[in-house]
C-alpha cells in the first residue's frame, strides 16, 4: 500500500516534469517521425526487394521495428536523468526518506513508459494513412511486450547510472551495450534478410525475440510460438532487472 502510494507520488513528479522540458517532448516525437519519413522510402526502392513477401507494405515490417526502437531507447536513456539527480543530490535526499526503494525505481520508469506509449500511438496514427494496417488487439499485446522491454532496459540503465555515478562512464557502458543489441535484433530490417550467422547470434539477444514477436503482433497474429518466446524471454529478464536495480537503490550509492 505504502509502496503503491510512493510509486504514485514519484510517478506524478516525473510525469509533470516532462512537460517542463518541451525540447525533450519535441525530439521524442520527431525522431521516430524522421525514421519513418526518411528511411521508409529507401526500403521501397531496395533492389531485390523480393526478400519482402509480395504484396506487403514495407511499413508493416518497418513500423513495428520503430516502435520497438522507441521503447528500447526510452528505456536505455533512463539513466541520464539518474545521473543528473545523483549529481544534484536529489537521489541521496530521496534515499534518506522512508519511501519504498522499488518506488524510487519504478515511479519514474512508469512515467516514461506512459509518454512512450503516447508517442508510439501517435506514430501508429500517423502511419495509418500511408498504408499501415492497424490491428488493435495485436497492437495492444505488442504494447505489453514493448512495456516489458522498456522496463527491462530502464532498470538496467538506472542501475548502471547509480553504479557508475558519472556521465562519461555511464554513456560509454550504455552505448557500448546498445549498439550490438540493436544491430543484432533486426530492429530496422528483419534479420531474415541477412546471412544465417546473424540469425544465430540474434538468438542470444533478448531484443531479437521482442522484435520478432512485435512484428507478428502488429500484423494481427495474436498468438504463436514466436510471440510466446518473446514473453518467455522478457518476463523473467525484466523481473530480474527490476529486482537488481531496486537492490542497487537500497545499497550504498555515494
Amino acid at each position: 500500500m505504502k509502496t503503491l502510494r510512493d510509486i504514485a507520488l514519484l510517478y506524478r513528479r516525473s510525469f509533470v516534469q516532462t512537460f517542463r522540458v518541451p525540447v525533450w517532448l519535441a525530439i521524442s516525437f520527431s525522431t521516430p517521425l524522421l525514421y519513418l519519413a526518411l528511411f521508409t522510402p529507401l526500403l521501397k526502392s531496395l533492389p531485390g526487394g523480393s526478400e519482402f513477401p509480395p504484396g506487403i507494405n514495407v511499413l508493416e515490417i518497418f513500423l513495428p521495428g520503430i516502435l520497438a526502437l522507441m521503447a528500447f531507447m526510452s528505456g536505455a536513456s533512463a539513466g541520464f536523468s539518474t545521473i543528473f539527480e545523483l549529481q544534484a543530490g536529489y537521489t541521496e535526499r530521496i534515499r534518506v526518506t522512508p519511501a519504498s526503494r522499488l518506488a524510487l525505481l519504478i515511479g519514474p520508469i512508469l512515467s516514461s513508459l506512459t509518454w512512450t506509449f503516447f508517442f508510439m500511438t501517435m506514430i501508429v496514427v500517423v502511419a495509418e494513412p500511408f498504408g499501415f494496417p492497424i490491428h488493435i488487439a495485436g497492437l495492444l499485446i505488442a504494447y505489453v511486450l514493448l512495456a516489458l522491454l522498456m522496463v527491462l532496459f530502464a532498470s538496467f540503465s538506472i542501475a548502471v547510472a547509480l553504479l557508475t555515478k558519472e556521465i562519461n562512464s555511464f554513456a560509454a557502458v550504455v552505448n557500448g551495450i546498445n549498439l550490438p543489441l540493436l544491430l543484432l535484433a533486426g530492429i530496422l530490417l528483419p534479420l531474415e534478410l541477412g546471412p544465417a550467422w546473424m540469425r544465430v547470434i540474434g538468438h542470444f539477444n533478448p531484443l531479437y525475440y521482442v522484435v520478432e514477436g512485435d512484428r507478428l503482433l502488429a500484423a494481427g497474429h495474436l498468438w504463436n510460438t514466436t510471440i510466446a518466446e518473446g514473453f518467455l524471454v522478457m518476463v523473467p529478464l525484466t523481473a530480474l532487472a527490476v529486482v537488481w536495480a531496486t537492490r542497487v537503490y537500497r545499497r550504498a550509492v555515494s
Binding site: 502510494r5 516534469q17 522540458v21 544534484a88 543530490g89 536529489y90 541521496e92 535526499r93 534518506v96 522512508p98
Partner: protein, 326 residues
C-alpha cells in the same frame, strides 16, 4: 537521541584501502546542536552518511532516536532529516512542490503537507520564491529550501552536512540565525563543518575529527580551557644566541604551561594571559633580552585543533573542491 559505538568504515579501491572512519564513539543529547569539526577528508561526511542510513555500517553500532540504524533503517529514516552538501532540491520542481513531495513521501496527507509547507515557507522566509522553479534560485535561497526539506516531517534529529559551504558571509550569517531558531524550537541538530567560527557560534558541544578519529570532544569552552588557556607570542631581537635561552628561562616558570619555538618567535601557553604578560616582559628584560613584538590572544578552536592534531585547521584541508572520500 543519538549514540554511536566504535563506528568504522573502510573504503576499498583496487589500489588502496582508505580507513575513512576509525572507531567513533559519541553521544548526542536531545535539543542540542552537536558540531562535528574537521578538515576536508577527515571522515565527517562518511560518519554522517552511516548515521543517516545512507551507507552501511561496517562495524560498530549506532542508535538514533531509539532505533538501531543497521537493524531498523526504516524507523530511523522516519525520524531523521538529512541535508547533504549538495542539498538535493529538485531543479525542475517549484520549492513548494518539492516540499509537498517530501512531506508526502514521509507519509503526510496532502492537506497536512500543505499546512506544513506553508508554515516552513513562512518560518524560513521562502515566500518570495517558493512558487518559482528551484533551478532559478540563488545559492542562499536553495540552501534555505534544502533545510526546509530536511525538517518538513519534524524530525527528531536533523543532520546538516556543511550547511554554509559556498555561501557568502551575509547568507552564512542568515543561515546561522535560522539554525539557531531550529534549536530553540527543540530540534536536535548534528552539524558538520570545517569552519571554526561556525562550530564555535552554533554548537553546544562539539567534537574534533581528524583522520577518521575523534581527537577531542566537549563544549567549545571546555576544549579551549583544556589546552593552555591563553597564548602569548613573543618575538625577540636576534642577539645571536637564538631563542633557546629564552625558551629555557620561560619553561622554568610555573605560570607557563608550555613553550614552543616557531620560526622566529616563541609561543607560550599560559593560564591567565593578562597577569602573565607583565611577568614575561619583566623576566625577559631582566635577562637582557630585547622584545620586538608581543601579542596576547585568547584561545581559539584552531589552537585546540593545533594541539590535538599537530596542524592548524586552516592548513589541514585539501585544496578547495576536495571532498571527503565517497
Amino acid at each position: 537521541m543519538l549514540e554511536a559505538h566504535d563506528l568504522t568504515k573502510t573504503f576499498r579501491t583496487r589500489k588502496e584501502k582508505i580507513e575513512a572512519v576509525r572507531g567513533i564513539d559519541m553521544e548526542i543529547w536531545p535539543g542540542e546542536i552537536f558540531g562535528f569539526l574537521g578538515p576536508n577528508g577527515a571522515g565527517k561526511t562518511t560518519t554522517l552518511r552511516m548515521l543517516s542510513t545512507l551507507l552501511p555500517i561496517e562495524s560498530g553500532r549506532a542508535v538514533v532516536s531509539g532505533f538501531d540504524v543497521h537493524k531498523s533503517p526504516h524507523q530511523v529514516r522516519q525520524r531523521i532529516g538529512y541535508v547533504s552538501q549538495l542539498g538535493g532540491s529538485d531543479r525542475l520542481a517549484t520549492g513548494r512542490e518539492d516540499l509537498l513531495l517530501q512531506g508526502e513521501l514521509y507519509g503526510m496527507g496532502r492537506r497536512e503537507a500543505e499546512r506544513r509547507a506553508d508554515e516552513l515557507i513562512e518560518v524560513l522566509d521562502l515566500a518570495e520564491f517558493a512558487s518559482r522553479r528551484v533551478q532559478s534560485y540563488s545559492g542562499g535561497q536553495r540552501r534555505r529550501l534544502d533545510i526546509a526539506l530536511g525538517i518538513m516531517h519534524r524530525p527528531d534529529v536533523l543532520f546538516l552536512d556543511e550547511p554554509t559551504t559556498g555561501l557568502d558571509p551575509q547568507n552564512r550569517a542568515n543561515l546561522w540565525v535560522q539554525i539557531s531558531k531550529l534549536r530553540e524550537a527543540g530540534t536536535t541538530i548534528f552539524l558538520t563543518t570545517h569552519y571554526l567560527e561556525e562550530a564555535d557560534a552554533l554548537s553546544n558541544r562539539l567534537a574534533i575529527m581528524d583522520h577518521g578519529q575523534l581527537v577531542a570532544e566537549g563544549t567549545s569552552r571546555q576544549l579551549k580551557q583544556q589546552i593552555a588557556a591563553d597564548s602569548v607570542v613573543v618575538s625577540l631581537q636576534d642577539d645571536g644566541a637564538g631563542p633557546e635561552g629564552a625558551m629555557r628561562l620561560l619553561q622554568e616558570q610555573d605560570f607557563v604551561r608550555e613553550v614552543s619555538a616557531e620560526s622566529d618567535h616563541l609561543r607560550l601557553y599560559v593560564d591567565d594571559g593578562v597577569t602573565a604578560l607583565p611577568r614575561i616582559l619583566r623576566l625577559l628584560d631582566q635577562n637582557g633580552m630585547t622584545i620586538k613584538t608581543v601579542t596576547l590572544s585568547e584561545p581559539t578552536l584552531d589552537d585546540v585543533f593545533l594541539r590535538y592534531t599537530g596542524r592548524s585547521l586552516r592548513d589541514a584541508g585539501q585544496p578547495p573542491g576536495g571532498k571527503d572520500p565517497q
